[in-house]
Symmetry: C2
Subunit: 113 residues, 2 copies
DNA sequence: GTCGTTTATGCGCTTACAGTCATAAGGGTG
DNA sequence: CACCCTTATGACTGTAAGCGCATAAACGAC
Protein backbone atom coordinates (compact mmCIF):
# COMPACT_ATOMS: atom_id res chain seq x y z
CA UNK A 1 0.00 0.00 0.00
CA UNK A 2 0.97 3.63 0.02
CA UNK A 3 2.44 2.96 -3.44
CA UNK A 4 5.58 4.92 -2.54
CA UNK A 5 7.17 1.98 -0.81
CA UNK A 6 6.47 3.22 2.69
CA UNK A 7 4.58 1.08 5.13
CA UNK A 8 1.43 2.42 6.81
CA UNK A 9 1.54 2.95 10.55
CA UNK A 10 0.13 0.29 12.86
CA UNK A 11 -2.69 2.66 13.76
CA UNK A 12 -3.74 3.09 10.14
CA UNK A 13 -3.47 -0.64 9.62
CA UNK A 14 -5.78 -1.12 12.57
CA UNK A 15 -8.30 1.32 11.15
CA UNK A 16 -8.22 -0.39 7.77
CA UNK A 17 -8.81 -3.76 9.32
CA UNK A 18 -11.65 -2.46 11.45
CA UNK A 19 -13.31 -1.04 8.38
CA UNK A 20 -12.89 -4.27 6.45
CA UNK A 21 -14.25 -6.18 9.41
CA UNK A 22 -17.48 -4.25 9.02
CA UNK A 23 -17.78 -5.61 5.50
CA UNK A 24 -16.77 -9.13 6.50
CA UNK A 25 -20.29 -9.97 7.62
CA UNK A 26 -22.84 -10.97 4.95
CA UNK A 27 -25.64 -9.59 7.08
CA UNK A 28 -24.17 -6.11 7.04
CA UNK A 29 -23.40 -6.24 3.34
CA UNK A 30 -26.97 -7.33 2.71
CA UNK A 31 -28.33 -4.45 4.75
CA UNK A 32 -26.19 -2.04 2.75
CA UNK A 33 -27.53 -3.55 -0.47
CA UNK A 34 -31.10 -3.17 0.68
CA UNK A 35 -30.52 0.45 1.61
CA UNK A 36 -28.99 1.02 -1.81
CA UNK A 37 -32.51 0.46 -3.17
CA UNK A 38 -33.68 3.42 -1.15
CA UNK A 39 -34.20 4.68 2.39
CA UNK A 40 -36.15 2.30 4.61
CA UNK A 41 -37.09 1.80 8.22
CA UNK A 42 -36.21 -1.23 10.27
CA UNK A 43 -39.56 -2.91 9.66
CA UNK A 44 -38.94 -2.91 5.91
CA UNK A 45 -35.46 -4.32 6.46
CA UNK A 46 -36.90 -7.10 8.60
CA UNK A 47 -39.22 -7.98 5.75
CA UNK A 48 -36.41 -7.91 3.21
CA UNK A 49 -33.83 -9.87 5.16
CA UNK A 50 -35.63 -11.97 7.76
CA UNK A 51 -33.24 -10.87 10.48
CA UNK A 52 -34.49 -10.06 13.94
CA UNK A 53 -35.21 -6.46 14.83
CA UNK A 54 -32.50 -6.32 17.45
CA UNK A 55 -29.94 -7.74 15.12
CA UNK A 56 -30.70 -5.23 12.40
CA UNK A 57 -30.63 -2.37 14.85
CA UNK A 58 -27.23 -3.40 16.11
CA UNK A 59 -25.70 -3.84 12.69
CA UNK A 60 -27.07 -0.50 11.52
CA UNK A 61 -25.51 1.32 14.43
CA UNK A 62 -22.17 -0.25 13.62
CA UNK A 63 -22.47 0.89 10.03
CA UNK A 64 -23.51 4.32 11.26
CA UNK A 65 -20.39 4.68 13.38
CA UNK A 66 -18.33 4.13 10.25
CA UNK A 67 -20.37 6.69 8.34
CA UNK A 68 -21.73 4.14 5.90
CA UNK A 69 -25.36 4.79 6.77
CA UNK A 70 -27.28 7.51 8.54
CA UNK A 71 -30.82 7.86 9.75
CA UNK A 72 -33.32 10.67 10.03
CA UNK A 73 -36.01 10.31 12.62
CA UNK A 74 -39.67 10.69 11.78
CA UNK A 75 -41.14 10.68 15.25
CA UNK A 76 -40.29 7.32 16.70
CA UNK A 77 -39.60 5.89 13.26
CA UNK A 78 -36.03 5.84 11.97
CA UNK A 79 -35.53 6.05 8.24
CA UNK A 80 -32.16 4.65 7.33
CA UNK A 81 -30.24 5.51 4.20
CA UNK A 82 -26.82 5.17 2.65
CA UNK A 83 -25.39 7.99 0.60
CA UNK A 84 -21.88 6.68 0.22
CA UNK A 85 -20.55 4.73 -2.75
CA UNK A 86 -17.40 3.42 -1.09
CA UNK A 87 -18.75 -0.05 -0.48
CA UNK A 88 -20.02 -0.31 -4.02
CA UNK A 89 -16.63 0.77 -5.35
CA UNK A 90 -14.84 -1.66 -3.06
CA UNK A 91 -17.06 -4.54 -4.19
CA UNK A 92 -16.43 -3.68 -7.82
CA UNK A 93 -12.70 -3.83 -7.26
CA UNK A 94 -13.01 -7.17 -5.52
CA UNK A 95 -15.20 -8.52 -8.26
CA UNK A 96 -12.62 -7.52 -10.83
CA UNK A 97 -10.03 -9.34 -8.78
CA UNK A 98 -12.21 -12.45 -8.80
CA UNK A 99 -12.62 -12.28 -12.55
CA UNK A 100 -8.95 -11.71 -13.28
CA UNK A 101 -8.11 -14.62 -11.04
CA UNK A 102 -10.53 -16.93 -12.80
CA UNK A 103 -9.30 -15.86 -16.23
CA UNK A 104 -5.76 -16.57 -15.16
CA UNK A 105 -6.68 -20.03 -13.91
CA UNK A 106 -8.52 -20.70 -17.15
CA UNK A 107 -5.50 -19.71 -19.19
CA UNK A 108 -3.24 -22.02 -17.24
CA UNK A 109 -5.62 -24.92 -17.83
CA UNK A 110 -5.84 -24.15 -21.54
CA UNK A 111 -2.09 -23.85 -21.89
CA UNK A 112 -1.21 -27.35 -20.75
CA UNK A 113 -2.49 -29.75 -23.37
CA UNK B 1 -23.58 -2.23 -5.34
CA UNK B 2 -24.00 -3.40 -8.90
CA UNK B 3 -24.83 0.24 -9.65
CA UNK B 4 -27.74 -0.81 -11.87
CA UNK B 5 -30.06 -1.15 -8.90
CA UNK B 6 -29.97 -4.94 -8.83
CA UNK B 7 -28.96 -6.73 -5.67
CA UNK B 8 -26.08 -9.22 -5.76
CA UNK B 9 -26.87 -12.85 -5.09
CA UNK B 10 -26.38 -14.26 -1.60
CA UNK B 11 -23.51 -16.33 -2.95
CA UNK B 12 -21.67 -13.29 -4.25
CA UNK B 13 -22.37 -11.47 -1.01
CA UNK B 14 -20.83 -14.39 0.82
CA UNK B 15 -17.73 -14.27 -1.37
CA UNK B 16 -17.35 -10.55 -0.85
CA UNK B 17 -17.60 -10.91 2.89
CA UNK B 18 -15.10 -13.75 2.94
CA UNK B 19 -12.66 -11.63 1.00
CA UNK B 20 -13.13 -8.66 3.31
CA UNK B 21 -12.72 -10.96 6.27
CA UNK B 22 -9.22 -11.72 5.04
CA UNK B 23 -8.42 -8.02 5.29
CA UNK B 24 -10.11 -7.60 8.65
CA UNK B 25 -7.04 -8.85 10.49
CA UNK B 26 -4.17 -6.42 11.11
CA UNK B 27 -1.69 -9.27 11.07
CA UNK B 28 -2.61 -10.23 7.52
CA UNK B 29 -2.62 -6.63 6.33
CA UNK B 30 0.81 -6.20 7.86
CA UNK B 31 2.12 -9.29 6.12
CA UNK B 32 0.81 -7.96 2.83
CA UNK B 33 2.56 -4.66 3.50
CA UNK B 34 5.84 -6.38 4.24
CA UNK B 35 5.61 -8.40 1.06
CA UNK B 36 4.92 -5.20 -0.85
CA UNK B 37 8.52 -4.27 -0.04
CA UNK B 38 9.69 -7.33 -1.91
CA UNK B 39 9.61 -11.13 -1.87
CA UNK B 40 10.69 -12.67 1.43
CA UNK B 41 10.78 -15.97 3.21
CA UNK B 42 9.07 -16.72 6.48
CA UNK B 43 12.19 -16.08 8.54
CA UNK B 44 12.38 -12.52 7.24
CA UNK B 45 8.70 -12.00 8.00
CA UNK B 46 9.24 -13.24 11.54
CA UNK B 47 11.96 -10.65 11.95
CA UNK B 48 9.79 -7.90 10.49
CA UNK B 49 6.61 -8.62 12.41
CA UNK B 50 7.52 -10.59 15.52
CA UNK B 51 4.78 -13.12 14.84
CA UNK B 52 5.36 -16.80 15.44
CA UNK B 53 6.36 -19.01 12.55
CA UNK B 54 3.19 -21.08 12.65
CA UNK B 55 1.02 -18.01 12.76
CA UNK B 56 2.69 -16.49 9.74
CA UNK B 57 2.51 -19.73 7.83
CA UNK B 58 -1.21 -20.02 8.50
CA UNK B 59 -2.00 -16.46 7.52
CA UNK B 60 0.04 -16.73 4.34
CA UNK B 61 -1.82 -19.85 3.24
CA UNK B 62 -5.11 -18.04 3.76
CA UNK B 63 -3.89 -15.17 1.63
CA UNK B 64 -2.65 -17.65 -0.94
CA UNK B 65 -6.05 -19.28 -1.27
CA UNK B 66 -7.47 -15.88 -2.17
CA UNK B 67 -4.72 -15.31 -4.72
CA UNK B 68 -3.28 -12.35 -2.83
CA UNK B 69 0.14 -13.91 -2.41
CA UNK B 70 2.02 -16.78 -3.99
CA UNK B 71 5.25 -18.56 -3.19
CA UNK B 72 8.00 -20.12 -5.19
CA UNK B 73 10.05 -22.81 -3.52
CA UNK B 74 13.81 -22.69 -3.36
CA UNK B 75 14.51 -26.13 -2.00
CA UNK B 76 12.87 -26.20 1.39
CA UNK B 77 12.71 -22.43 1.53
CA UNK B 78 9.53 -20.69 0.45
CA UNK B 79 9.86 -17.22 -1.02
CA UNK B 80 6.58 -15.39 -0.71
CA UNK B 81 5.51 -12.50 -2.86
CA UNK B 82 2.47 -10.44 -3.75
CA UNK B 83 1.95 -9.29 -7.31
CA UNK B 84 -1.56 -7.97 -6.93
CA UNK B 85 -2.51 -4.34 -6.32
CA UNK B 86 -6.11 -4.99 -5.24
CA UNK B 87 -5.42 -4.55 -1.56
CA UNK B 88 -3.51 -1.37 -2.14
CA UNK B 89 -6.34 -0.01 -4.28
CA UNK B 90 -8.90 -1.03 -1.67
CA UNK B 91 -6.94 0.68 1.09
CA UNK B 92 -6.66 3.85 -0.96
CA UNK B 93 -10.42 3.92 -1.42
CA UNK B 94 -10.98 3.40 2.28
CA UNK B 95 -8.48 6.09 3.13
CA UNK B 96 -10.31 8.52 0.87
CA UNK B 97 -13.49 7.60 2.67
CA UNK B 98 -11.85 8.37 5.99
CA UNK B 99 -10.62 11.73 4.76
CA UNK B 100 -13.94 12.77 3.23
CA UNK B 101 -15.65 11.82 6.45
CA UNK B 102 -13.29 13.88 8.56
CA UNK B 103 -13.59 16.88 6.24
CA UNK B 104 -17.35 16.66 6.49
CA UNK B 105 -17.21 16.57 10.28
CA UNK B 106 -14.85 19.52 10.27
CA UNK B 107 -17.20 21.52 8.08
CA UNK B 108 -20.12 20.84 10.36
CA UNK B 109 -18.15 22.03 13.35
CA UNK B 110 -17.04 25.18 11.56
CA UNK B 111 -20.58 25.97 10.43
CA UNK B 112 -22.11 26.09 13.91
CA UNK B 113 -20.73 29.09 15.79
C1' DG C 1 -53.02 9.61 31.92
C1' DT C 2 -53.04 4.38 29.23
C1' DC C 3 -52.11 1.72 25.25
C1' DG C 4 -49.72 0.52 21.03
C1' DT C 5 -45.74 0.97 18.06
C1' DT C 6 -40.91 1.43 16.92
C1' DT C 7 -36.14 1.38 18.11
C1' DA C 8 -32.24 0.51 21.38
C1' DT C 9 -29.91 -2.43 24.72
C1' DG C 10 -28.71 -5.96 28.54
C1' DC C 11 -28.18 -10.91 28.84
C1' DG C 12 -26.98 -15.43 27.39
C1' DC C 13 -25.76 -18.95 24.06
C1' DT C 14 -22.96 -20.44 20.45
C1' DT C 15 -19.74 -20.38 16.80
C1' DA C 16 -15.58 -18.78 14.45
C1' DC C 17 -11.02 -17.87 14.52
C1' DA C 18 -6.53 -15.75 16.12
C1' DG C 19 -2.60 -17.29 18.38
C1' DT C 20 0.67 -20.78 20.70
C1' DC C 21 2.95 -25.23 21.38
C1' DA C 22 4.38 -29.43 19.77
C1' DT C 23 5.06 -32.34 16.01
C1' DA C 24 5.36 -33.93 11.41
C1' DA C 25 6.91 -33.56 6.66
C1' DG C 26 10.13 -32.36 3.09
C1' DG C 27 14.55 -31.09 1.56
C1' DG C 28 19.70 -29.94 2.13
C1' DT C 29 24.51 -31.40 3.91
C1' DG C 30 27.98 -34.35 6.05
C1' DC D 1 22.51 -43.21 6.56
C1' DA D 2 21.98 -39.47 10.46
C1' DC D 3 21.43 -34.56 11.42
C1' DC D 4 19.81 -29.95 10.75
C1' DC D 5 16.92 -26.40 8.91
C1' DT D 6 12.54 -24.54 7.08
C1' DT D 7 7.72 -24.86 6.48
C1' DA D 8 3.07 -26.97 7.25
C1' DT D 9 -0.38 -28.78 10.31
C1' DG D 10 -2.98 -31.11 14.33
C1' DA D 11 -4.59 -30.02 19.00
C1' DC D 12 -5.74 -26.68 22.18
C1' DT D 13 -7.19 -22.30 24.53
C1' DG D 14 -9.10 -17.75 24.88
C1' DT D 15 -11.57 -14.16 23.13
C1' DA D 16 -14.44 -11.59 20.01
C1' DA D 17 -18.76 -11.24 17.96
C1' DG D 18 -23.15 -12.89 15.67
C1' DC D 19 -27.79 -13.75 16.84
C1' DG D 20 -32.17 -14.16 19.37
C1' DC D 21 -35.08 -13.23 23.48
C1' DA D 22 -36.80 -10.22 26.64
C1' DT D 23 -37.11 -5.65 28.16
C1' DA D 24 -36.57 -0.83 28.43
C1' DA D 25 -36.97 3.73 26.48
C1' DA D 26 -39.06 7.19 23.43
C1' DC D 27 -42.82 8.88 20.87
C1' DG D 28 -47.66 9.24 18.95
C1' DA D 29 -52.74 8.41 19.33
C1' DC D 30 -56.66 8.15 22.17
Amino acid sequence: MASDGSKPSPELLEEFSQFFRLLSEPARLQLLCELKQGPQDVAALIGATGFSQSHISRQLSQLQRAGLVCCERDGVRAIWRTDDDVVEDLCNLVQNHFMQRLEQQLKQLQAVP
